[in-house]
Amino acid sequence: MRYNRTELSGNIGFSSIIDEKFKTAGLVVRFITELSGEKAAANALGIGVLSSSSAEYRTLAELNEKLSSLYGASLTTFTRKRGDVQVLGLSASWIDKRYAFDGEDLDKEMLGIIRGCIFEPNAENSEFDADSYMITKNDLLDRIDAELNNKRGYALSRAAEIAFRGEPAEFSCYGTKESASKVTSAEAYAAYRKLLETAQVEICYIAPEEDPAVLEMFRESFGAVSRNSGKVTFRSVSPAKPETITESDEFDVLQCKMVMSFKTDSDDMFATKLLSTVFGETPVSKLFMNVREKLSLCYYCACRYTYSKGSIMVDIGVERENIEKAKAEILRQLDEIKQGNITDADIESALLSLDNALTQIGDTPSSYSAWYFERFCDGEIVTPEEQYENYKKVTKERIIKAANSLSLDSVYLMLDKEEQA
């Protein structure tokens, strides 16, 4: 594997990952901007419309017909939240030309399509094409509505809203239904132009062999854009509330959900990640072995660490009558770690688990792309092997210190509707 990163003028990074074992090539273009409740929906719509048509392929049907003829190449747009930052972009993947029946130059074809979607969108008079925009807008509104369909995901979103209240991370990366429904085609187009001109941009090309044409295309195309971009702040630690707050909603569900949001002001990312792994990220973690296996309270009880916000969220699906018992056990398990009751075997198995996950990163194009983007956001581009060396240096004392830096900020409960007497 060969990794190379080039800085283009105008705050644009271009990473190239060449690995001969892959049978596909792919590109991910990320626009990075501060997450804002006012602008989130317009940005999401402005990016979303790019995969529905372009000046060359004027309708979704034409664009999809072309992609399908290129052996089912994929081209999608995405909008995500990363702490206080909104990451939006376009991702494409296609099979390597070695596997094409008739020797078609798939790289050239796909590069042309991607260039068209990003730099020559289907727009006139500063508005997106009406049909393309309407399809994209309906889709976003439906997506916002559909968040409730996934109960676990919805509970985590509500928990983030409560834990990060007053900070950009409280907002959904899609915006609200109210704000999205008001965005006009012209406003979405203006939002996209602003992203093109001012957002920090990270491009990642992953393929079995080098293709200088890719970098050249972006250099030339962005060269024609008047860029004025500032650096985004990727890490903004969220302060813990003076007192833990609890909020709840009631739904007609069979299983209740609880999300406990802990905050930490520790900068020790490696120790906190190891703490999170020991606490609740594996099937031998404290939470899995005790809350699930010993007490049989749940099917899942797990945690996740978000370095950019300094938070650890624990989530569980549980019966209403067992909520307090589960909460007490989760806190008791954390207390055990705070008091130093972790073994060398606990730490060793967490390290092995991290090593295993890190070593597998080079096996899929998407994990490569995500890895280098995440390291860029964290401020230091290191290989998975180098990252593992950082984990190995963590001592038990650092893990205990990280545990003692945690405080319970808030609790979100998704409750079932209690039967009326």
Partner: protein, 425 residues
């Protein structure tokens, strides 16, 4: 013990198949350049296998719904410790799943795969069930059942199956119900284990950064010889007709969702593979994102980008499903049936047909780019009675006449079920 090399002429990929002396079928795919290893140890035993007998049994045994899944959970606990604790010492990520027609135990790792493989082969061959451990699992699986019942995608799918199948156990939930799993005890688990976890009914599939010789040496060391007990599974007679054409349920959802499923004739082996490929091409012709129908419905705001299709098939069942979010699912149903009629009367555009065949081929090439997908492909193909690369060859032989014949014979209005989950408001 002979090694058979299986190769795809089209992509150049290859793997090794061995019929081990223990009775186990083993598939090994060395993937140079990849760091990880994915191993699956699977048995042809899923939620649909509720009636069975072995050579010498006079009668068939019927077991409670959800027992294959319950057994999967319990096999992770052996006499001395939890299997996850053993994997924790190698760094492998262990897991398991039960589907309609199979149960598989798996691990993925990047280092020390040999030791993880020994753990996998060992624990799956060593059942240990007691009243206490069975009782403990009731609570955990009870929560899993409640979680899946709160999942509208799961509900809409099973509601559709219940309207489609009169008798076939594909209509029962994989995990069973809180009531059915209460009937499960250690004796029943042992009975099912010794029936289905016979190595002659199982397959080991392993792909990635491995050596075939090393894998086979570990198999020689860990596999216990096993007599073929002549397992026979049966399914109740299933009529061609559906139970009812429509079902609606209210749940707390933000966006209503639907499944439209055609009940098609079931088949096995190569015939099933071919029929699956034809069905997949037909559903794309009718409704992929470049089709007229998709565009019409999208512009009218009746569907959104969640719309998709799936061919769902196994022993005794075969359905083609159109699914997505819609406030007007009956309009989607009408559009699908009208589009089938239109294509039957006007024929299939040959250019579109060839394009979709290319796209389907591209999907297979992508699959071979991924260690996990390759391991799953080898196991699934074996259990389906076909070779891992057969699909690529089958696609090239499919004609537009095959597609039209499938539409005419299988996509019948009287075999169509619509299942909807709508909001409570």
């Amino acid at each position: 013990m002979e090694k058979e090399l299986i190769r795809s002429e089209r992509t150049g990929d290859s793997c090794v198949h061995v019929k081990h002396r223990s009775g186990l079928d083993i598939y090994i795919c060395e993937m140079p350049g990849f760091s990880s290893v994915e191993a699956l140890f699977g048995t042809k035993y899923g939620s649909v296998n509720t009636m069975f007998r072995q050579k010498g049994d006079a009668d068939f045994t019927t077991v409670p719904e959800g027992i294959a899944h319950f057994l999967e959970h319990k096999l992770f606990e052996n006499e001395d410790c939890d299997v996850f604790e053993l994997y924790a010492k190698t760094g492998a990520s262990g897991n398991a799943f039960t589907s309609f027609d199979k149960t598989a135990y798996l691990f993925s790792c990047s280092k020390n795969y040999q030791e993880s493989l020994r753990i996998l082969l060992d624990f799956v061959q060593k059942p240990y069930f007691t009243k206490e451990t069975v009782d403990k699992e009731q609570g955990i699986i009870g929560q899993e059942i409640k979680m899946t019942n709160d999942n509208p995608e799961w509900r809409v799918f099973f509601n559709m199956l219940r309207c489609m199948y009169h008798e076939h156990p594909v209509k029962i939930d994989i995990a069973g119900t809180v009531e059915s799993i209460a009937k499960i005890d250690a004796d029943l688990l042992y009975k099912c284990y010794y029936t289905f976890y016979n190595l002659n009914n199982m397959v080991l599939s392993i792909a990635g950064n491995i050596s075939a010789d090393e894998v086979l040496a570990i198999c020689d060391e860990c596999l216990k010889d096993c007599d073929d007990k002549g397992l026979e599974t049966v399914f109740p007679d299933e009529s061609d007709t559906i139970v009812k054409s429509e079902i609606r349920e209210k749940q707390p959802v933000g966006a209503p969702i639907f499944n439209l499923g055609y009940k098609c004739g079931a088949c096995t082996g190569e015939e099933r593979l071919r029929k699956t490929m034809v069905a997949s091409i037909v559903s794309s012709l009718l409704s992929d994102a470049s089709s007229d129908m998709y565009q019409r419905l999208l512009k009218a705001g009746i569907i959104n980008s969640s719309f998709g299709t799936e061919v769902f098939t196994g022993d005794g069942y075969f359905t083609v499903i159109f699914s997505g979010e819609s406030g007007s699912p009956e309009k989607v149903r009408d559009a699908v049936t009208d589009e089938v009629d239109r294509m039957l009367s006007e024929g299939i555009c040959e250019k579109d047909f060839q394009r979709i065949k290319k796209s389907t081929y591209g999907m297979f090439v992508r699959e071979l780019n991924n260690v996990e997908a390759v391991a799953n492909l080898m196991m699934n193909s074996h259990m389906d009675g076909v070779g891992p690369y057969d699909a690529i060859n089958v696609i090239s032989g499919i004609t537009s006449e095959d597609a039209l014949a499938f539409m005419k014979n299988e996509l019948r209005r009287d075999r169509l079920v619509m299942s909807v989950i709508e909001g409570e408001g």
